[in-house]
Symmetry: C2
Subunit: 343 residues, 2 copies
DNA sequence: TGTTAGCACTCAAATTGTCCGAGTGCTAAC
DNA sequence: GTTAGCACTCGGACAATTTGAGTGCTAACA
């Protein structure tokens, strides 16, 4: 679709003004805002054509124009340009995703929090996962006579721990047995090959101490299953409420939707390399038809990937936020890579 | 304040009906709902007196009556009786707060989640803290050549862990040094005596390895400070949105309020023994003036206490929910006591 | 052929007026 | 102390009216 330079200018001005105010944009305003000197009538003619092409919409006959999904799309693809992040923003982002945090999950969740604050949007993120993540190490930290903490390390750098309790007192022979089981049945095993049935088999092999092993093995396999399932982290939910009117006052439906991990992880999984923008009805879920998603994949060590993104109203500031999300996601990838390699 | 039996009946009926429907209650309805046989005019007279006493309120001249804060208060204190929980509900609660969870924090957070689902309210809870909690044990689980997980156990049963990273490679002498520092400077120390300055002192004592110790000691003291600060867990936020109209359509303000830990922990800290009910304007924070809080202290081992409570609209079902909160909080106390003693 | 001024037109939002009915307060009688 | 009856009040729903922003169209112009 080719647009005359003047139409482009008009479309861009409508989009930008609408993003700024949320009010339909009229021809008279454009006349004064645009530096081209034509009358408002001419602008009306142009706008009518843009509307005919499906790029603008009119809420009602006697109102200004509002961008359609296609209008935003044209703006994002052709008009907004690739604004450079200024250095102060870069520094803010770098400070926000502080490297002090030592675990990959910590970095991601910190980044999500920060991005929510920076953009005033809800943010979603997933921890990275590699093609064939495996169990790398398992430690047991005794705590009480019957309790201990199981620590799981996977080959893609995820660390998870959980307290578990046995029904019988612990002793060194039990512990040894546990470590043997772990070594023979878990270490090196791909995460996705573990399910509820695994516990059965493994426990059975423990012979006389089978019963005592159950809580440990169960907890361990729970941990493994959890770290395999790409869980979605959600931050900044309250930002949604602050834009309630932009969502047609159905913000709470959107919130309910965001609380469900499964659709979110589907959306994030679809993200292509680089920044991906889904505007309004481009989203497959109708709960998102008044929202836009800006998400990016980050790469860790070249082969492990995760996503981080923001969800806001369609009239989100694309020109400002797309570069921010891109920069932040790159940064996250780099930081986590560094963490894993330093180990 | 003494009320005639008939006034009591009327007040109770108004409160209960209003809780059920959210609509102002009129004299005609009461006439048919109440089993006393007087005319609606008489009921109107009685209601006028109740209104004069400040127990009922009229949204406008030609509307039914609505309970005031004082009205609810009278109902809760004198009229609603002490309904027994039926066994099926007890069993539901017991199943909800499953004992499978092995850490005190796990139990609390599970209980909070469950209570939110049971009551359709937001729930807040704090982990228990004792008078003089101390550092009980510290473990270091090496993970990579420069990273490890610090595990903290406190005397009141809280377990916290965090990954931390050093700038230099770890070796056994460093580890030994760390354990020595821990033993001499942290073990047995009351949690509240540790602050940022502690790190300075402790690190300084490490001599030549001071620099290498910084990340570990810092992380450890962060963990300690965190476990001392009674953090508030919040669940079921979305339930607030479902009662938006009950909060005068300012649910998002309430939500923003609930996200701030500090006022919540102040509220929970004020709870007396047993169940405590704060109705509408009895709450000191004006963000809660259209809400009621039902909270209870739970006791662990007799000397450690935490709180769990629900926050809902003033027209919450007190008669049903107060016993539930009481039962659940007792249960939580018992379960955690058992966990700690079994260790 | 593109641009402009002018004007009629449309429609949402705000304003006003009217009516309805639920529910009250009051009074006089019981 | 209770009741029936009646006038009264006020919010909510509905329609009619006004206002103003903004458009579409057309005829004239460059």
């Amino acid at each position: 679709m080719e647009l005359s330079p003047r139409k482009q200018k008009i479309l861009a001005a409508v989009v930008e003004q609408y993003i700024k105010t949320g009010e339909p944009v009229g021809s008279k305003f454009l006349q004064s805002a645009l530096d081209i000197s034509v009358s408002s009538a001419t602008i009306r003619n142009e706008m009518a054509e843009l509307a005919g092409m499906g790029l603008l919409d009119q809420p009602h006959t006697s109102a200004g124009r509002v961008p359609t999904t296609e209008g935003y799309r044209y703006y994002v693809d052709h008009l907004m340009g690739d604004r450079k992040l200024d250095d102060s923003l870069k520094r803010r982002i770098e400070a926000g995703v502080s490297i002090k945090n030592a675990s990959p999950e910590g970095v991601i969740s910190k980044a999500g929090e920060f991005l929510a604050e920076l953009t005033n949007c809800a943010t979603v993120s997933t921890i990275m996962s590699g093609k064939d993540a495996r169990v790398k190490r398992v430690e047991f930290v005794p705590i009480g006579s019957r309790t201990g903490m199981i620590v799981l390390l996977t080959s893609n750098g995820i660390i998870k721990s959980r307290v578990c309790r046995s029904d019988t007192d612990l002793n060194s022979s039990l512990l040894e047995k546990f470590y043997n089981i772990v070594k023979s049945a878990f270490i090196g095993l791909p995460l996705d090959e573990i399910d509820a049935a695994t516990v059965q088999t493994v426990v059975a092999s423990a012979g006389s101490d089978a019963l005592a092993m159950i809580p440990f093995v169960t907890t361990l396999s729970d941990l493994i299953i959890e770290s395999e399932r790409t869980s979605v982290m959600l931050e900044g939910q309250s930002n949604i409420l602050h834009h309630d009117s932009d969502y047609g006052h159905t913000a709470h439906e959107l919130l309910d939707f965001l609380r469900r991990d499964e659709p979110l992880s589907r959306i994030l999984a679809e993200s292509r390399d680089g920044v991906d923008v889904r505007i309004g009805s481009e989203n497959k879920f109708k709960q998102l038809e008044k929202s836009s998603v800006i998400m990016a994949k980050y790469n860790v060590d070249g082969d492990k990937r995760g996503s981080i993104g923001i969800i806001g109203p369609t009239r989100i500031d694309y020109a400002e936020l797309i570069p921010s999300v891109r920069y932040l996601s790159d940064l996250v990838g780099k930081i986590i890579t560094r963490i894993l390699n330093e180990e």
